[in-house]
Symmetry: C2
Subunit: 250 residues, 2 copies
């Protein structure tokens, strides 16, 4: 029977992928997704891999729905959690705007450990209080909206996790975002650059709002901006943890 | 060798717990946590369970650190992800304010699938854009701060996930929070009550900002507030999906 799973693969380390995700992948006849994510899935020789490069997400979603409607058992894969800047929203947009038959498909979203949770765990407990997650990509929203969200989030006292911070096509946005945040946050608020967490090329840089250097980030970097309650705990060996105190003063 | 793991058990279904969490739990000599979470862990007869009821989280964290400092291999467990309103922040607060030797302990935070990700997956893709996560508990922060954060988050256009929405000790906060949100959001913005997702007593209610009834929530309910771009897709069988469109108009 046809089926469409939308699967979060977790941050990259297979130990952080859930058994529920593995079970869905084991039943799939077709894997659909951005090539590096599809390549991460072990599968038998009969499984068809539909890897796409820079192809538009909505096209990829429609292709997956067509396959499922034709009777295939399709897994659409994303890194981290598919619901957090992954493929899930594109698939439902394709369903909403597509043929009515797609609304009868069995669609199952399998949650995963998102990059923000993996980065937070690696750093300590920087998400200790309320927090928000913002994509710096201005492909699908105006840059003015990104800036306004950053300003309101910092005013609210949220810890802020930034996705899609920097790429060849997005060279200046993180620097501009840091400027917006410097208007609201104290200079010494901790900032972390968490790159490729859980993968062999993992790298962590701890810095501050005043000193954060946007050029240290790349496509695989998640940037975590603390709040007034985020503190750095120095360890005996020179390393440090970040955590956010749960208590907000009256 | 002594070790302290802070482990996110995931939302409740064992299939949503990572192999990394299982591996840590399998090495632990002691399990520390709120009783229902400790009870979820399968362990041999030699493993010591330190289950606490309404004991203060900071005391529980200190107890875990004392055990680890004495050479035990301790797993502190939380539901979902330990960094999202779980035990991680309390452990690091205890380290910061505790004896210097605790800074030399091997502490490892193991991320998990948080309740907000499991609820989002169950509903469709409501987190499709930028989002925030807010606890309605006013044990550790003034209620005025909660209200201000809700207002700013709604103004920013974030989808809002609410934790700790209702309990015997917290009977009126969700109703008051909905009133704050009604000042900012359109009446027809989708709202979901997602209770005990992934567990046998799971229950989902889809409603709107205007019609959301706070009394439908309990201790196990996560409330998800949509934004102007969150839409409901009706299915042939009467069920519906929620998703948030990724595109924000200029």
């Amino acid at each position: 029977m046809s089926h469409l799973w939308i699967v979060g693969l977790g941050p990259g380390n297979a130990l952080q992928r859930t058994p529920q995700a593995d079970a869905a992948l084991a039943q799939a006849t077709d894997l659909v997704g951005y090539a590096p994510y599809v390549a991460r899935v072990e599968a038998g020789p009969d499984v068809v891999r539909h890897s796409s490069d820079n192809r538009e997400e909505l096209d990829r979603a429609r292709h997956a729905l067509e396959l499922a409607a034709s009777g295939r058992r399709v897994a659409v894969v994303s890194g981290g959690d598919a619901g957090v800047f992954g493929m899930a929203s594109a698939v439902f947009e394709a369903i909403e705007t597509g043929v009515p038959a797609w609304r009868s498909l069995e669609v199952e979203v399998i949650p995963g450990v998102s990059a923000v949770l993996a980065a937070s765990a690696r750093l300590g407990a920087p998400l200790g209080g309320d927090f928000c997650v913002i994509s710096l990509s201005d492909n699908l929203k105006p840059w003015t909206v990104v800036c306004e969200r950053l300003r309101l989030a910092a005013q609210a006292g949220f810890v802020i996790a930034l996705y899609n911070v920097r790429s060849a096509a997005r060279p200046w946005q993180l620097g501009a975002a840091l400027e917006v945040l410097r208007d609201v946050l104290a200079a010494d608020v901790p900032v972390a650059f968490a790159r490729a967490i859980g993968r062999p090329d993992e790298r962590v840089v701890l810095t501050t709002v005043a000193e954060a250097d946007a050029t240290l980030a790349d496509m695989s970097t998640l940037v975590l901006i603390g709040c007034a309650l985020t503190r750095r705990i120095e360890r005996a060996d020179g390393r440090a943890w970040l955590y956010t105190d749960r208590k907000v003063a009256s």
